[in-house]
Amino acid sequence: MRRRVLYLFFSSVTLAVFYLVLGINLQHLGYYNHESLFYIEKARIVFEGTGLRLKTIGLTSPMIPFYGVLPFAQLNYLIAPVIASALGTAALFFIISLGVIKTTKDNFLILILLLLFIFHPGFIYMGCSGKGIYATMIFFFLFFYNIFRFYISNTTFHISIASILLVILLFCDYKFIWMTLFFIPLIISIAIQSLNLAEKQSIFRLFLSFNNPSLRRKLMNKTFAMYVIIFILPLIAILCYKLLNQAHANDFNYFSDSPYATWNVLVDKFEKTVSPSVTNYSIPEVSFLTSVRVLVYCPLILLGAYFFRSNTQHFLTLLIPFALVEFLKIHEENSSFLPMQYYLMFIVLAYLALVFRSQVIARRKVYKVIIVLLVIVQVFTGYFFLRDSMIQSENSFVTTFQKTNDTNEPTTFDEYKQMADFINHLPRKSSILIDDVNAYPILAYVKSLKNITLPYQDAFLSAIENPSTYVSYVLLAGDQNSVGGYTQLNFKYKLTMETRNSLTLEKVYESDNWTMYRIRVNGHEFDESLIR
């Protein structure tokens, strides 16, 4: 056992190196995404910023992926998210493998897992992109692993651990809070199963327990108690977090609604600008089809469902993520497409089902053949899903992968880099006013935040009102900028300032979406020595 763990550990380390090399190479080829740039910019504020950074530390969301980047930020800000995702994905491999070796001596499932982690584009994306998907997947796996363990062990331990893991999962991806809704039928099922009745069939057990006042009371009490023990911690954790947001940002939903706190708010504008459906004949992710897409993406889940066919609880558990993605499609009206993690979680779940039936798989060769075939299919569907994704960061991951070092096609992130490069080359004492609500990709590339006035600082509001007293440059979003409406520092600001404060904003650098202005007071350049 110890030897196997050691092998697994070294495999995981190798896997981490593999992802890291790929990820760094991809960055060299120009692959970036908004999520990792957002984390980088916030990490820079944490380590380089001056002023009250508590809000940035505490309210940046999703919290766990952000905190995952922080330990590596001091090494290299731009690579830090890649290191985090590479290590995180390798850790996911290690965790799942540990689950496997606990249940079987057969190495087949480990091998399959390793193949998945090496060849499946979804996992490569998870490991190399610098996104926080790895954290979601780790805690998603652990949560369901403990739920399944609870079915076997019947101890409060596993259900309590599952609850704690769900809390962490929510801080990886808040949308998983909706999963609480779909647990209700499952918990009723568990409660019914646990009643001391001679009847074996679930439906008759339900009938009996509802028609007997004593059993009904027991059933209700147990259902309620189980629901509470699983979900009270996540719900209270979110409530506390919301109170914290209210106390520090005067908004209960600051962490999920404010573009200062999370990259999710603007990501639709940034990344999902490709219009779906009719014009380009793409399959729209309409509600019912989402589940079908999941089955196409992860046919292994069908085998998992087959293994659990005779157990209502296990089967219902597998259905919960389906209900979640369908719900998200209905609930998230603005979101046209589900990001990759909502598909990847089915592979993780399907694999979990295999882990819990590893003994059966080890005995029957036919299952091994089916698994190999399904995994091969999955690798291909994974590739096509990523390639044809309507989400830019997913789509460009594949296109960047296919690029060679010779091709030097510009990416959307080049504009940010160029602007950052301009900022880096400004005179040493130049101070700049930037609103990181939408300019965080630029700030992720700048060399230092030292002379940049940002919204987390007390001086920011004063600097907006009276820029000439505080800064020498101001970065404004251009009128073509799709997220220019989220900040005061847009093209309208120039007009207002020039009219009200008798300033002249002299354009010094311009890109498609951004313009850098130098501030001139009555025709004179701003005197740096007057900076407060």
């Binding site: 508590l54 505490g58 062990s153 019947n154 101890t155 409060t156 331990f157 259900i159 309590s160 651990i161 609850s163 646990s194 001391n196 027991k218 009490n221 147990k222 309620f224 108690a225 509470v228 023990i229 009270i232 911690l233 209270i236 954790a237 506390c240 914290l244 106390a247 520090h248």
Partner: protein, 626 residues
């Protein structure tokens, strides 16, 4: 009535009892056989092993013309006569020679026809006895009062003599006093020089401590919950126990003014699944507790227990009574039950089975405690939740981590010889059980837990609850102070894990209760009342950390309470877990009371009144699966 002249002509009492159909010949045979093996007199066995009730016995003798002297306590006593007696020997008979009068030894006897004791009188004093018929309880009372002084002194001071470092006679050592006052002085000086920074440090320190100690509790509970279905001893194993191979088992029942509960207690013990002759049940009654003694006299059914009267000596605590009882205990194993306890019927057998399975260094086994009146009111519900997580999750958690287990007040089963070797209970410690657990651990012995429950009466009265809890918390403080007199020595003896466990479990518990109102006050001042001074004193981040710690601490404690309902299927209690913050406030009140008492009267035993519950003490066996 003097009977001496007619002794030889008198029919033995056993014949009278048979004649009155109070015992059978088979019983007589059994008693004689047992008497030969044990050295106990006929009357002792008949009255204390459930053959005949005291009422019937007195009635039988009265019908035969005997008259009981009910004023024997006022009889004159001759010290020279008493000097020749050994209390341990005397207690095997219900008889006591008290003086020599008219060349005869005036002897109190419950069985005036006990030839063996009469011969003893002849042999010891060389004189004929003059027998005064008296109730066995009066004789016991007088015997212990007159002959028990040396034993009771030993019971009080034995630990102090043999292991003064572990005695609670001295509450604060000099070193501790210096440390406490130096800390206070340092704090005052720091506040004087930099009030704001010191307040910030204190605030963050205590709130973080609060959270860490609760996180530790959650960790323990989770660890314990992992093994909630583990059965140390299965029913099947209990079924295979051979009664003849079982050793003598002592059960100590320390009671004080529990007259209302005596009947129930004795009934509960009758149902224990253990051979009657191998039970050595000692009802420990204080000398001045005539209420309980009278209640025992009035029992109208045969009972299996032996009364031991504990002579008056300060401090009047339960451990002193238990220590005294040890001198008269015959068992290989020993346990303690409270007056209102209802142990699982197979508890003793389970314990023996587990002792046989465990290595030799396991000297104590703690059973779970829970309540039979859980649905009586708010307090009993909260108490049930608390005990459920404590005994079902925390103690197994401590056991798993091999951290010293603070024993519960009752249902802890000891190897008697090892208990004596440890110096038994500390009569000056008001949570002698917790202290004993630690002492055992520090001497290399281990404590384990068994899957058996004793049901008690949950305190259903607020003031009674505060009294009881203040004693417990005071005891924890006492225990902490005793064992931390030399922290380095303690660390060397129990290792890092034990040391941390001890500090977080025993030390942190009273401290968290003491600091809870402080944190709550800050929370109210900041969030609810929004006082300006609090914002002026503490920066926002400090208040944030402080309130975060308070809220998360409370949430986790609520969660630990919620976990408690699962093992025992008390699902209806789950919502009451939410009231834990209020319950904690009650703890804080008790903690401050306990702290006050620790300073002004450290050995004072806050008596808990039992028998307040209106719920009948019947228990349905809980199922231990989720």
């Amino acid at each position: 009535m003097a009977l001496a002249t007619s002794i030889n002509d008198t029919a033995p009492v056993c014949d009278l009892l048979i004649k009155d159909h109070l015992i059978t010949y088979a019983d007589l045979e059994k008693i004689s056989d047992f008497s030969k093996r044990s050295g106990l007199s006929f009357i002792k066995i008949a009255l204390t092993f459930g053959y005949i009730s005291r009422k019937n016995y007195e009635g039988c003798l009265s019908n035969a013309g005997y008259v009981f002297n009910d004023k024997v306590r006022e009889e004159a006593v001759d010290d020279e006569v008493l000097e020749k007696l050994d209390l341990k020997f005397i207690t095997n008979f219900f008889a006591l020679p008290i003086r020599i009068e008219n060349n005869r030894v005036v002897t109190l006897m419950a069985d005036p026809t006990d030839r063996e004791f009469i011969n003893f009188i002849y042999e010891t004093y060389g004189l004929e006895p003059e027998i005064i018929l008296a109730s066995d309880l009066d004789i016991v009372w007088l015997s212990h009062k007159l002959l028990g002084e040396s034993y009771v002194k030993d019971a009080v001071f034995e630990l102090m003599k043999s292991d003064p470092a572990n005695s609670a006679l001295i509450t604060f050592s000099t070193g501790q006093l210096i440390f406490i006052f130096a800390s206070i002085a340092l704090m005052v000086v720091a506040l004087f020089f930099n009030f704001s920074q010191t307040s910030i440090l204190l605030n963050i320190g205590i709130s973080s401590f609060f959270l860490i100690s609760i996180l530790f509790k959650l960790f323990l509970a989770l660890l314990g919950s992992r093994f909630e279905l583990h059965q140390a001893v299965t029913r099947d194993e209990v079924r295979h126990v051979v009664d003849d191979d079982l050793p003598i088992y002592t059960i100590q029942l320390p009671v004080y003014k529990e007259d209302k509960l005596i009947k129930k207690l004795i009934w509960n013990l009758q149902s224990i699944d253990y051979p009657r002759e191998k039970l050595d049940i000692k009802l420990l009654i204080e000398e001045d507790d005539s209420k309980t003694l009278n209640a025992v006299k009035d029992l109208n059914f045969p009972a299996i227990f032996d009364v031991v009267v504990v002579p008056f000596h300060m401090p009047k605590t339960k451990p002193k009574a238990c220590n005294y009882g040890l001198y008269f205990s015959r068992g290989k194993y020993l346990t303690i039950y409270d007056a209102e306890d209802i142990p699982d019927t197979d508890q003793l057998k389970k314990v023996i089975m587990l002792f046989e399975k465990l290595p030799e260094n396991y000297i104590c086994i703690q059973c779970a405690l829970n309540y039979f009146n859980r649905n009586e009111n708010f307090l009993t519900r909260m108490f049930t939740l608390e005990y459920s997580y404590w005994f079902d999750y925390m103690l197994p958690g401590l056991d798993t981590l091999d951290i010293p287990i603070p024993l519960g007040g009752t249902s802890n089963h000891f190897k008697l010889d090892k208990l004596i070797e440890l110096g038994a209970w500390d009569p000056f410690n008001v949570t002698e059980d917790a202290d004993l657990g630690l002492r055992a651990y520090s001497k290399g012995y281990k404590v384990s837990i068994v899957n058996s429950t004793t049901y008690e009466e949950a305190n259903n009265d607020f003031f009674n609850w505060i009294r009881q809890r203040s004693r417990w918390i005071k005891g924890y403080m006492q225990t902490y102070l005793i064992h931390m007199r030399n922290p380095v020595k303690l660390y060397k003896r129990i290792g890092l894990r034990g040391f941390l466990g001890f500090n977080f479990f025993i030390g942190a518990t009273p401290i968290t209760f003491l600091i809870y109102p402080v944190l709550l006050g800050i929370f109210l001042a900041y969030v609810v009342l929004d006082f300006t001074w609090i914002r002026a004193l503490f920066p926002d981040w400090v208040l944030f950390i402080s309130i975060f710690n308070l809220i998360i601490g409370n949430v986790l404690m609520i969660y630990v309470n919620m976990m408690a309902v699962f093992k025992r299927r008390f699902y209806e209690l789950i919502l009451f877990s939410m009231a834990n913050p209020i319950y904690w406030l009650m703890h804080s009140i008790s903690a401050y009371k306990g702290l006050y008492q620790l300073i002004v009267k450290p050995f004072y035993w806050e008596k808990t009144n039992h028998g307040l519950s209106k719920t009948a003490g019947t228990v349905t066996q809980p199922k231990t699966t989720v």
